[in-house]
Symmetry: C2
Subunit: 350 residues, 2 copies
């Protein structure tokens, strides 16, 4: 079968590899679509970051590894012992791979598993015609969720977890810094989870327009004027209860700090590769807090529900549909070089 | 009366000033003892920091201002309208001055008051023979709390709030970075509030010894060996649920990050004047969080209770008793120049 293998930094190859066979308690999925995630780009440009450099403790894998963890497809074969999944099921996949035996797994906190891995990073993923995954990792999608929109279940689960980690009250004012793929999902997840107002902050005009279309109460260009003053005025001095930092750099973080009000929470969603400078003296006076959010635990069901009932809209976020052969040139490179024209590119292995 | 006035950086003078007279709803207190706080030292060395540079919105005050906010004494006179405080009451004082009218005060979150000030910084404080304060700010102390130990109620309230901000489960493992006056109170407050084990991390041998004497489960010298590895081993890989950063610098913060386990909370208690560098990539993978704690809201009653019943011991933290005339030389300078020999110095205006 055809697959996209990460061999090294700047070295992702489309190759013919043997079709995988489901082992005990695994299922084989015929991939329909797989989204390109920011972490795929990180691995392509600057990896290995999450891709294991020595054999992964759970999968034993080292590169080359088939990338792709935001995929949908049909179950085409089940391994021995699989009971709750049937051939023909339309599914999406929880990409986290965990041991099930450590303290954290025992507590149901499997995103904290001491051996945590991810399909498409620590085992072969969805940029391929077929992929095998543990049967417990599949979630059936209802007819309202298409294969294309189903690719958003995984990143939407990430967004919903970020919202849950904020522990904000219903009716909270949320500020979302960055209207890229994760920011646009966080914005919608915040609204779906009870935020009162959602302010989107984004320098690219195209993305601001999309944020507005997808329901942002107001959109702001951080390169024009002082967003924190504008939000201060709009909220009668209260500013945001929660700021979601969906970029991962110093400028976005500084904005998140400034737009957050007293007792405010800053949720780090964007992956800040470099350490950031934090003005604790300013946080302290207002008892501001910073939290982080890693993957998801039980956020697949609400993600599917929000997509199915339309509370979260993703069709307009798909800015490209390509085939596997074009993954690097029309996928990775396109996203890196033309962020203003793209949000999410989905890939078909056909 | 005699009082210590902050005129400017490195310029605190012991002077004769008129005795204050309690206005409506104020009480006049004859000060018995007043502790020297780290923020007094900050104001002395590097102020004005909290001391207002323009008239404070609630008190109208600018320097010179009488310092001192950790004091105990007797009520010697009450102003008109005061009902619940009587002459002769043995009291300590909530130093926070708030408007009572803003959104946050209305929510009972007065430490977030938009006009927040503090006795001894935005109004005349307790390094004086007499001080007047709003009657609502006084708390009676029981016989078990002496005037000397009563000076610890205010900083202990700060410590208890820091513990509450951690939102840790009963039985949590706490690591306290820094065994200075606040660290030693946080350590004891954490234990009094249900921490299972309390690890104290402190480079000064004298302070480690005191931390152990005051109940630390284990003490660690961060300048010898790798504390995080030691705590990792002691906790079977779990590390601390909460790290209290009670120093306020990069080294202490880095230690706090390293000794904290998955889903761990870092509470910033020490006042980090300079911004700190935060490795979010490391926090993210373990969903670590950082919170801040500002003053107190309703932490005076438990602080008095813990001192009264002996759950928090402070006598051994008093390393000096001086009179007001010696405040600068034997108080401020002594604490700055000889931290290894001192924890808390209390001052009598007599």
């Amino acid at each position: 079968m055809k697959a996209a293998l990460w061999h090294g930094r700047d070295d992702v190859r489309i190759e013919e590899v043997p079709e995988p066979t489901p082992r005990e308690n695994e299922v084989k999925i015929g991939v329909k679509w797989c989204g390109i995630c920011g972490s795929d780009l990180h691995e392509y440009r600057a990896g290995p970051m999450i891709i294991p450099q020595k054999p992964h403790p759970l999968t034993g894998r080292t590169p080359p590894i088939i990338l792709g963890h935001e995929f949908s497809g049909d179950v085409v074969e089940i391994g021995s012992g699989v009971k709750d999944v049937n051939v023909g099921d339309r599914v999406v996949v929880n990409a986290l791979i965990y041991c099930g035996q450590c303290f954290y797994c025992g507590m149901g906190e499997y995103n904290m598993c001491i051996k945590l891995g991810s399909t498409g990073l620590a085992s072969d993923g969805g940029f391929a015609e077929f992929v095998t995954v543990p049967s417990y990792a599949t979630y059936n999608i209802p007819p309202e969720v298409t294969y294309e929109t189903g690719t958003f279940v995984e990143p939407l689960a990430v967004a919903i977890r970020a919202v849950k980690r904020a522990r904000a009250q219903v009716g909270n004012t949320a500020a979302v810094v960055g209207a890229g793929p994760i920011g646009l999902l966080v914005q919608q997840a915040a609204a779906a989870c009870g935020a009162g107002k959602v302010y989107a902050i984004e320098p690219l005009a195209e993305r601001r327009e999309l944020a507005k279309k997808l329901g942002a109460t107001e959109v702001f260009d951080p390169s024009e004027g002082d967003v924190s003053k504008e939000i201060h005025a709009l909220t009668h001095g209260m500013r945001a209860d929660v700021a979601y930092e969906c970029v991962g750099n110093q400028g976005a973080f500084d904005t998140a700090v400034r737009v957050t009000g007293r007792r405010g929470m800053i949720v780090m969603v964007g992956l800040a590769i470099e350490p950031l400078t934090v003005p604790f003296l300013r946080l302290w006076g207002h008892e501001k807090e910073i939290t982080t959010s890693q993957g998801y635990v039980d956020e697949f069901p609400p993600a599917i529900a929000f997509l199915a009932d339309g509370r979260v809209q993703v069709e307009s976020m798909i800015t490209g549909k390509i085939t596997l052969d074009d993954l690097v040139e029309k996928g990775f490179k396109e996203l890196i070089e033309h962020p203003e024209e793209n949000i999410k590119i989905v890939v078909s292995p056909q």
